[in-house]
Symmetry: C2
Subunit: 443 residues, 2 copies
């Protein structure tokens, strides 16, 4: 894509390179590739089995939360959990928990897993890889008759794609207003929770604050960086914060035929200039922020009328809230310059979406990096540009996230794909991370 | 607005300046201002009377063609015509014709007038000034007991704002398909013509090809040039040609969170660059062309998705078809450059609208300029950026157009306004032009 300078820094004794905006850690050459204990074939077989529930004509799935397909998919996972000896419960917000005893029952459980609900017209890997990966960890433990000190819990969060009520509930942040939200399946979240076997009147009981040792989520990247750079694993530094504004440009509508070019106060031309500036600011400034204008409308919206008003969306994401604000301030300063020169004003409404960044736990990142390193995998430290249940769990327990490559960076599409070997690499890193967490004492 | 260099050229013996893209003729200082024969008070009173028909809460009118308000307005005009001794007929396409005999009945009639139908939510001057101005000409002739050699005909064209079936019919270009078009009032044009007293089965009989001496239309400018430059009269060089394209930019849709800035193929950022370029090309190139992007949509159109496709309108207008093509070629060349640099392709569909420019008759321009000059008015030669019935008449008879100032350049709005004195100046120029035409023998 572009030439990037690679510089190396020291990250807890590992060789680290900062590459194209991501911190890259190359496995020490002295450590040989370990043959995988995770089984690519077994994972692929479970992914294929799961993909039957809600399968659509495009080869993807329509398995939105609370739908019949979601219920059937959950029943399949519960069955697999039981085959692996897990004791299965459903919490009040509809999360599935598959529990395995530890040798020291008083220790807090180590939680890992993801979700199996999809967006409408989704793919077979988003969420699913984390769930199948968690089952794979249990499979390896069973095969090797390993019992951990801490109890283990495999979690399938409810409705990740429709507002994350499952992980929000488990993190003690459930606002009862959320129960009224209509889900993709057409049910309210309250109705949906009932369908899953939960109890919307007792969501506060799902809260696990202070009761967990740690949480780890394996997930597909949903971006193209790992594939592009030929890297096996991503160590997630955190889930980015997201702010959305609606920007309104106001000039003067006028007749497109009778108004000469000089003196026009064209809100769309001014908006075009600002949209280019937004792209340049986010691209050229230091850092890994992203800024997107995804939606635009000109008013009155006729081909022969100079737009007097334009509304467009602005989204800025970064791991650091202060950085989001800095980028926004640069955008606003540029808007002021354009305003003065073109007699078109810009208004930015208060952010309609304002999600705080959720950094992962420094210690978890280190454990995941060690695990990847021991297995001979190259891995960057990278942000997650998309939201995940982990962002909620991070508020109540040390949380880590492991990424595996997405082919072509494509997600939320039937074309979504992660190769069996890549899934197995991720599951093996998850397995080792769980074992390392089992040794860890967090203050 | 901007500093402009004024250079003078010689236009048939008059001092002409080319100013900010329009050819400016300053009245010879030796000629004193003539007291107006046209009555500003009488015109204002007729404008006010007409404005009652379809008056809306904003002080403008909803007098769309074929509506009850249109019928009532036409009845008022017919009544005024009869008071002035005109013999009134309705032609097959619903045009009102008020005829006055000439001393030489074998000569072809001189036609002048405009329309009284409005856009939805329109103002009180668009079209109306030309109609009231034509009545004013008859009033002056009556007061001065002047009889012209040629018969005179005052015309109120039907449905100017909804496709111009009246002037199209009079120019022998009526395609029966047009009868099926639904008008603003909800009637088909066929139904509307019946409501006006015309006969949609006999529209070919409205054709006056070869039967007219000349046509002159007085109209408000609908732009802000005359007011801005402090000029009284515009001598219209012609009605601009109009071409509309739909431009489609195709990049690649992707996740706004997980896709880093470098390597994005953002169809909206590329479109923004082209929209700015279109504005620059039309503004900076020599000539008086205008180019407008009035409508835009991004797909899929979510704030968190990089647009993979953008569609926008492109309109280019100029008096010269070749010039429209040149400007379009410059736009396409820029699109090619952007395509190469940003990996976003641009497609321009075949023009969805393609109206040829309609130049006015050189001799009519000269007569109007002489009339203005004799009255001590400064006047530019200027294009009409908007469409008018005159563009159709220009295809069958020598045609001229006279503009008077629009306050703030505002039109198609209740804020539309032309001062009584400006209307009277226009009517006086029209009166003198009619008298000059009466002397004229066209080859």
């Amino acid at each position: 894509m572009q030439n990037v300078a690679i510089r190396t820094i020291n990250f807890k004794g590992l060789l680290v390179g900062v590459l194209a905006g991501l911190t890259l850690v190359t496995a020490m050459p002295a450590i040989a590739e370990t043959s995988l204990e995770a089984s690519a074939a077994r994972m692929e077989s479970r992914i294929k089995a799961l993909s039957q529930f809600g399968r659509n004509a495009d080869g993807g799935v329509d398995r939105v939360a609370y739908s019949e397909a979601d219920l059937a998919g959950r029943a399949y996972i519960i069955e697999e959990m039981k085959k692996l000896g897990l004791s299965v419960t459903i919490d009040a917000t509809g999360n599935i928990l598959g529990k395995r005893d530890g040798t020291e029952p008083d220790l807090h459980p180590i939680l890992f897993g993801s979700h199996i609900d999809s967006v409408p017209g989704g793919g077979n890997y988003d969420g699913d890889v984390g769930v199948i990966g968690a089952l794979e960890v249990i499979s390896i433990l069973q095969e090797n008759t390993i019992q951990t000190r801490h109890p283990l819990e495999v979690v399938i969060f409810s409705d990740e794609e429709g507002g994350m009520p499952g992980s929000i509930g488990m993190s003690g942040m459930f606002d009862p207003e959320l129960l009224k939200t209509e889900s993709h399946a057409g049910f309210t979240i309250a109705e949906g929770i009932v369908r899953l076997g939960g109890d919307p009147t007792r969501v506060s009981e799902a809260d696990r604050t202070g009761e967990l040792h740690a949480f780890v989520e394996l997930h597909i990247e949903q971006g193209g960086l790992l594939e592009e750079k030929g890297l096996e694993i991503g160590v997630v530094e955190g889930i980015v914060g997201i702010r959305w504004w609606t920007v309104t440009a106001t000039g003067m509508a006028n007749h497109g035929g009778t108004t000469p070019m000089p003196g026009r106060r064209d809100a769309l031309v001014a908006s075009a200039r600002l949209i280019m500036a937004i792209n340049e600011i986010a691209t050229e400034a230091e850092g890994r922020q992203v800024a997107t204008v995804g939606k635009i409308q000109a008013f009155p919206g006729a081909p022969n009328v100079i737009p007097g008003r334009v509304e467009f969306s602005l989204e800025i994401r970064d791991l650091d809230s202060a950085r989001i604000q800095q980028v926004f301030d640069m955008v606003k300063a540029e808007a002021d310059r354009i305003s003065t020169e073109m007699e078109v004003s810009f208004d930015f409404d208060a952010p309609t979406t304002d999600l705080l960044p959720a950094p992962t736990d420094e210690r978890l990142r280190q454990l995941i990096a060690e695990a990847a390193n021991e297995l001979g995998f190259s891995y960057p430290l990278m942000p997650s540009g998309a939201g995940h249940d982990a962002q909620n769990l991070a508020t109540i327990t040390p949380t880590g996230m492991i990424f595996v490559p997405s082919r072509g960076g494509i997600s939320h599409s039937p074309q979504e794909f992660t190769a069996p070997l890549d899934m197995a690499r991720g599951a093996h890193v998850l397995y080792r991370t769980v074992l390392k967490l089992d040794e860890q004492v967090f203050e």
